[in-house]
Amino acid sequence: MMKYESQGIAKMYFIAAIGLFLGQILFGIIMGLQYVMGDFLFPEIPFNVARMVHTNLLIVWLLFGFMGSAYFLVPEEAERELYAPWLAKLMFWIFLVAGVLTILGYLLVPYAKLAEITMNDLLPTMGREFLEQPTITKIGIVIVVLAFIFNIGMTVLSGRKTVINLVLLTGLVGLAVFFLFSFYNPDNLVLDKYFWWFVVHLWVEGVWELIMASLLAYVLIKVTGVDREVIEKWLYLIVGMALISGLIGTGHHFFWIGTPDYWQWLGSIFSALEPIPFFMMTLFAFNVVNKRRRDHPNKAAVLWALGTGVMAFLGAGVWGFLHTLAPINFYTHGTQITAAHGHMAFYGAYVMVVLTMISYSMPIMRGQKAANERAQVFEMWSFWMMTVAMVFITLFLTGAGILQVYLQRYSENPESFMVVQDKVAMFYWMRELAGLVFLAGLLLYIYSFFAKGKEVEFVEE
């Protein structure tokens, strides 16, 4: 039922993505426990190692998800087979092996040793948040991403050029270009931090939003049958607003790192606009689902698409706005408030959009229009379990953050970091429980791919 055979390459990417996702959550559970039982797995897996694994797995599996999504969507949109299917397969294995080796490196040898083995001294890029990968891995990422963009780009340029394809392609090119800043690591810490954000912010609050919006638009066209013209107009507006607000919105990271004071104003004003594109995604998803011309048999995919719109707005929009204004950020910067926002934003925007794509495309790659009814019921249960668990994780971390800000930063007699951590421990326990529910939801999600049941009935258009 795939229109083009090469779309099927997405499947291996998605399977790898889900496997790494599971790994990410397991390490999240470990870290959550270390927050309240400080000596858990110490010194075998210290917190910083668990955190590296947790965040790096997230990045890698989302990249797998984005690539798989692109391989599925681009041929269909471009109305031709993928330019070089063999290259996509080759890159899959290179990326998987490099990714797994890197994670094993984190776990099996001390990080300083890993730096030594991989000759970090030649071009030191390691040891900065989210960019912990050895330089050689970073070079590998660049090669894989360039080969991927070449493949996708040739397919798009020699095929039908839809708005979805073009927006996706600009997003992917941006992803590659901004990653190059990860190789710039000056001794001057302020400069280092300033350009570090050119990777991190311009990814997650910039070009990734383009990728996300185009994936969402694609699935919404497919499951609702709403006119492409309408959806493309929305898509342009959303990604336009994402760039208009998000580019200068980078300034909300330049409040307290030794950069000029004008960023307080620019960062506050423009990042206050950053909820707008996310709000528009909610509005967009609600609107086209409301105007749908057909009831697609894949109800789970529709649920994920709606959920993405809502949760991205909550996590990235609302929880971002909560602490983005400089006078508030003065107190909240680098507290559990940031962690709360980070969790819900990543889940709501990027995890959910990849799961939306998987939900829509996986049955098709397995020769069905939609998964069987029982499998869909499990999948929808897993949606609610993971989503509700993430809402609670966010609320508990927000509670911990508010208390932390008050006791450590705002109070007239500020208390020390570790004293405050003990006082908010109850929130960390509750967060850990919510994390276990999330894990259970994820296991159910994985099970849903194997669940047998009555095939869905649908009318072929």
Partner: protein, 121 residues
């Protein structure tokens, strides 16, 4: 009775005002809603959405300000725990009202009522 062009426009204006009152233009949005009410007639889609907007915002005002005030009153202004509850509660419930108003807006654009209306008759 099929709503006419003006009724449809007024219905979507009503939901927009409701949303604005919840977000960027509090009070102004509510006054606009009340003014719009006078332009509508009973048993029409625009009257339905004006009333829905007014009710949503009254509920929101109660749920947000009344409950928050109660929390502060009971917890005390100086207690950090008060702010833990107040801020988490306010942000989350406020967002839920915004989402509800957004869904109402989308429904009003197609001239239909909310499928399951739990705030109006």
């Amino acid at each position: 009775m099929k709503p006419d062009e003006i009724q449809l426009k007024q219905a979507s204006r009503a939901t927009l005002y409701s949303l604005l009152n919840l977000t960027m233009l509090p009070i102004v949005g509510f006054i606009s809603l009340c003014l719009l009410y006078r332009k509508t007639t009973s048993n029409t889609i625009d009257r339905y959405y004006v009333l829905l907007g007014i009710k949503t915002n009254l509920y929101a005002a109660a749920a947000l300000f009344l409950v928050t005030a109660l929390m502060i009153f009971m917890g005390g202004f100086e207690s950090p725990w008060t702010w833990v509850y107040v801020i988490s509660y306010f942000v989350f419930v406020h967002a839920l009202f915004i989402l509800f108003a957004t869904w109402s807006m989308v429904r009003s654009w197609t001239g239909e009522k909310l499928k399951r209306s739990f705030l109006s008759k």
